[in-house]
Symmetry: C2
Subunit: 132 residues, 2 copies
DNA sequence: AGATTACTACGAAGGCGTTCGTGAGTCAAG
DNA sequence: CTTGACTCACGAACGCCTTCGTAGTAATCT
């Protein structure tokens, strides 16, 4: 409907579907359903309905050229992750990125390798983000 | 109702109320309402109803000894932040803490001071968290 | 052609979150 | 005692999320 407007924040069920689309690439309803059903039992028509609603919202785009419509996420994974992280940052952490990092680490203890990866990422981010 | 069970994840409106309670300490409905109304117009009874529901869920505890009941958050801010961060980490980032950190930094660019604070926090966390 | 399968569209139900109006009770002042 | 201010309790409304059943249409098979 509004092709250029930002899609709204995905809900829980929508995020699960987007995860499948991001990892599989453009997929039919059946393929998404198979990807979902591994973890959570769901009827085929439930996934179909979700995808239809998500298409209305602009979260996914639909290619109707084949009989089995092909859906693809309209935003890349990183973009959506950024939206969600920013949203939580604002709502629950008062904008404190340090607070969010601490919260994440406390919630799911990170291995030394992962800590090293975070540090590496901080370095890279500090170099790249010289826009002020 | 279930005093020792973990309260569920707070919703958006509930989180706003909790934020007031965390910063003000135990408060009456009127005080919470004044704290909320600064940013978002809301009727007194809306805040009252929210607090009643939150008490049922166990998100807040109510002291009825005064005529104006006094509510307090049943979990500290850090605990709830940890829940929320862990939840997002699992749902949207596949458990990758590095991904979450990158998402947060991309969403709201951090100042060099904040980056330094994050690094300091990582060091401290690495020292303190020596529990396999 | 007729039957079976695969797919989309649609409507409806149930639950939850949010908002607010109304009623009833309590307390203090006139 | 009556009035007015303040408080809690409750129900209702509305919209959104999620789930699923049913119906209709297109392709395929015998």
């Amino acid at each position: 409907m509004r092709p250029n407007a930002d899609p709204p924040r995905p809900t829980d069920a929508e995020l699960e579907i987007l995860t499948v689309l991001w990892s599989r690439g453009p997929s039919t309803v059946r393929e998404v359903h198979e990807g979902i059903a591994r973890r959570k039992p769901a009827q085929y028509t439930t996934v179909l309905k979700l995808l239809q609603i998500m298409a209305e919202k602009g979260l996914v785009q639909r290619d109707e050229r084949q009989r089995a419509h092909v859906y693809r996420a309209s935003r890349p994974r990183e973009w959506t992750q950024q939206q969600l992280a920013g949203d939580l940052l604002r709502r629950a952490f008062g904008g404190s990125a340090a607070g969010l990092v601490l919260g994440a680490l406390s919630a799911r203890p990170a291995s030394p390798e992962e800590l090293a990866e975070i540090r590496r990422m901080l370095d890279e981010y500090e170099k790249g983000g010289e826009k002020c």
